[in-house]
């Protein structure tokens, strides 16, 4: 079971992209891709991050490893007694901390460089982290390939010689090559067909246990999240709307959005009877999210509320807070949770 020791604390992260318009390319507005996310991540856990397309999952992941720049907020990384402020690292700290968080991507076709063999792609990061001789680098990469159930010799092959599942495993090996503590898996199995998906998910589990890793597992596939996550965070329009232990969230979803998402997965076990809740409309434009609770134009619950309650939903944005007061926190951002 994951510990209660914090490894990462994301505080009020906002990542906005400028929208440029006109001849002079002036900034007309901002896409609020991530708009105030607070999240604590514990050492050794797998945190699932779910939500519809465009809700900002990838952007949150990229903000954490600074592939995109957050406009405000703080990300704290804990190592032993020390705390590092990831968005304000000194150059020495940066060199030491940069590789602690790595990422595995979705697209097995663009995730490997077609011009290089596996060894060619992976050796530069190893050099950067001080593996001096070629023989050592070959040994490390060979070991990594074996760790992801591939053959050592395959390090001298080019990406086009691999299948989708193999490429994805090479992507995992690459993320592992600098011994990270946290691995962000951004739709890491979404592009694979289900039999390969199973192998890769199992592999990820094994690796996690063998190396004591922490995962942030981004996906829109709720059954995958249920399979792999200890806790699940549900995102909507750049904000987290529900965060709970995976089991609690799947058994008793409290946010109307989570309920709608869950009702849409085909149900295998018949003892969980539920109506399929159809979400109307598309995700609103993150440039100008709706007032108050951003979910209100699509919220099934909202329709059944009284007029003053509706005004409340439309006027005030709900805060993420504990709804149940049970031993394990179950955070919901809704004025009228279930």
């Amino acid at each position: 079971m994951p510990s209660q020791e914090k490894i990462l604390h994301i505080k009020g992260i906002k990542t906005h992209f400028p929208v440029r318009k006109g001849l002079l390319r002036t900034v007309a507005a901002h896409v609020k891709a991530v708009d105030g996310v607070d999240l604590e991540i514990y050492r050794g856990e797998t945190l699932g991050l779910v939500g519809e397309s465009g809700c900002g999952k990838t952007t949150l992941g990229k903000s954490i490893i600074q592939l995109v720049e957050a406009v405000s907020g703080q990300i704290l990384y804990y190592e032993g007694e020390q705390t590092f402020d990831l968005l304000n690292l000194s150059p020495e700290e940066f060199k030491h901390i940069r590789q602690k968080i790595q990422i595995v991507f979705q697209d097995p076709h663009s995730s490997l460089n077609p011009a290089f063999t596996v060894f060619g792609s992976l050796q530069d990061p190893l050099k950067l982290y001080g593996v001096k001789t070629k023989a050592e680098r070959r040994k490390i990469i060979g070991d990594l390939l074996e760790a992801v159930n591939m053959r050592r010799e395959q390090m001298d092959n080019y990406p086009h010689e691999f299948s989708g599942g193999q490429r994805q495993r090479i992507g995992i090996a690459r993320a592992l090559c600098v011994n990270p503590e946290i691995v962000i898996c951004d739709e890491a199995v979404s592009a694979l067909d289900v039999s390969i998906q199973a192998q890769v998910l199992q592999l990820l589990q094994e690796i996690k246990e063998a190396r004591g890793l922490t995962y942030i597992f981004i996906t829109h596939d709720l059954s995958v999240v249920e399979y792999i996550s200890d806790r699940v965070a549900v995102m909507y329009l750049g904000k987290i709307v529900e965060l709970a232990e995976s089991e609690a969230l799947y058994r008793t979803p409290r946010h109307p959005y989570t309920q709608a998402l869950l009702s849409a997965i085909p149900i295998a076990d018949l003892d969980r009877k539920s109506e399929r809740i159809v979400l109307e409309g598309d995700v609103p434009n993150p440039v100008s999210p709706p007032s108050g609770c951003a979910f209100h134009p699509r919220c099934p619950k909202f329709k059944s509320l009284s007029e003053p309650e509706k005004q409340h939903c439309m006027g005030e944005s709900p805060q993420l807070s504990d709804a149940t007061q049970l031993t394990q926190p179950h955070l919901v951002s809704c004025h009228y949770p279930n």
């Binding site: 079971m1 990229k62 490893i65 592939l67 940066f94 060199k95 940069r98 590789q99 968080i101 790595q102 990422i103 991507f105 979705q106 697209d107 663009s110 995730s111 490997l112 460089n113 077609p114 011009a115 290089f116 792609s121 530069d124 990061p125 950067l128 092959n157 080019y158 086009h160 010689e161 691999f162 299948s163 599942g165 193999q166 992507g171 690459r174 993320a175 600098v178 289900v194 039999s195 390969i196 199973a198 192998q199 998910l201 199992q202 059954s223 995958v224 249920e226 399979y227 089991e247 295998a268 076990d269």
Partner: protein, 306 residues
């Protein structure tokens, strides 16, 4: 350690028994070469270009005449067994001049194309990868250079720098880097979004390594095509300038300089062998390079890949 079974577990149990299928068969790595070989025009072009380059490099083995040697007894003689393409108005062997001229003409074309590539590709790759104001600044500069009529720019520079072989290459490079810059920039803008680039950035590798070592090789196909086509273009420009007497100094034989005599109406009308072979060499050579370039383009264009 127990984990609560979910609905995927059942599916996985079944699948676990199946072992992974055999790996995909390795795609043919010399597919590009095969493709080029099946393009007849490209092969023909490549053969012609190769022959011309070899002939001019080994010119002394191909002809026993000195292209500079004046022979006043043999002025304007038509083609014969001794002089297969005849002689020019001061008795120099035309065939020898074309073969030796190829050295300079090809040097100017290829040298300028490579120079333009060096500038255009390095600026284009770096600024596009970096983006922001650096990219927009260079984009504006290239627009200014490219919107200026190139021939006027060349003429101005020739007057300023003076006429010499080296200057000509420098001038062509300075005026011609725009198209390679544009091409590299466009390639880079799309390649830098690839996930492997993001992964490299997550390791904290420096910009130069990512940009030039890891990304650039993926853009080389179209760049090579553009370099071949630029070579043809610069050979034509050299010929044009030399015809006007503004290219390589007239005493050095180049295809353009040989053509220069055709300014004289008497020669143009009565002594075709003095200028026509050179004109045809230029046309054929440029055409051949274009065939090679088009063939290369087909092999590197992903939409044409079968």
């Amino acid at each position: 350690m127990t984990r609560r079974p979910t609905r995927l577990d059942k599916k996985f149990d079944i699948l676990r028994e199946r072992t992974e299928r055999g790996t995909l068969k390795a795609a043919s790595s010399n597919r590009a070469l095969n493709k080029l070989a099946s393009n007849k025009l490209a092969v023909l072009g490549l053969a012609f270009v190769t022959i011309m380059i070899l002939a001019s490099v080994f010119a002394p083995l191909v002809t026993q005449y000195d292209p500079q040697k004046v022979d006043l007894r043999m002025m304007l003689k038509p083609p014969s067994a001794d002089h297969i393409l005849g002689t020019d108005k001061i008795g120099r062997d035309v065939f020898a001049r074309i073969i030796y001229g190829g050295r300079i003409s090809i040097l100017v074309g290829l040298g300028s194309a490579l120079g333009a590539a060096l500038i255009g590709v390095s600026i284009g790759a770096y600024t596009a990868y970096k983006g922001g104001w650096l990219d927009s600044t260079f984009l504006r500069i290239s627009e200014v250079v490219m919107s200026f009529p190139q021939i006027i720019l060349v003429l101005m520079l020739v007057t300023i720098l003076g006429q010499s072989l080296m200057n000509l290459i420098i001038i062509f490079t300075l005026t011609g880097w725009g198209s390679l810059y544009r091409l590299t920039r466009a390639q880079m803008l799309s390649l830098r979004e690839e996930e492997y680039v993001q992964a490299l950035r997550a390791f904290g590798l420096n910009t130069f390594t990512i940009c030039f070592k890891h990304i650039l090789p993926n853009a080389l196909g179209p760049i090579m095509v553009n370099i071949t086509l630029s070579t043809a273009m610069f050979i034509l420009q050299e010929a044009g300038l030399s015809f006007l007497g503004l290219g390589v100094p007239l005493n050095i034989p180049t295809w353009g300089n040989i053509l220069n005599v055709a300014q004289d109406l008497r020669i143009l009308q009565n002594y075709w062998w003095v200028w026509l072979p050179s004109a045809m060499t230029i046309s054929l050579f440029v055409l051949a390079i274009n065939f090679v370039g088009d063939g290369l383009r087909d092999t590197t264009d992903p939409t044409m890949q079968g």
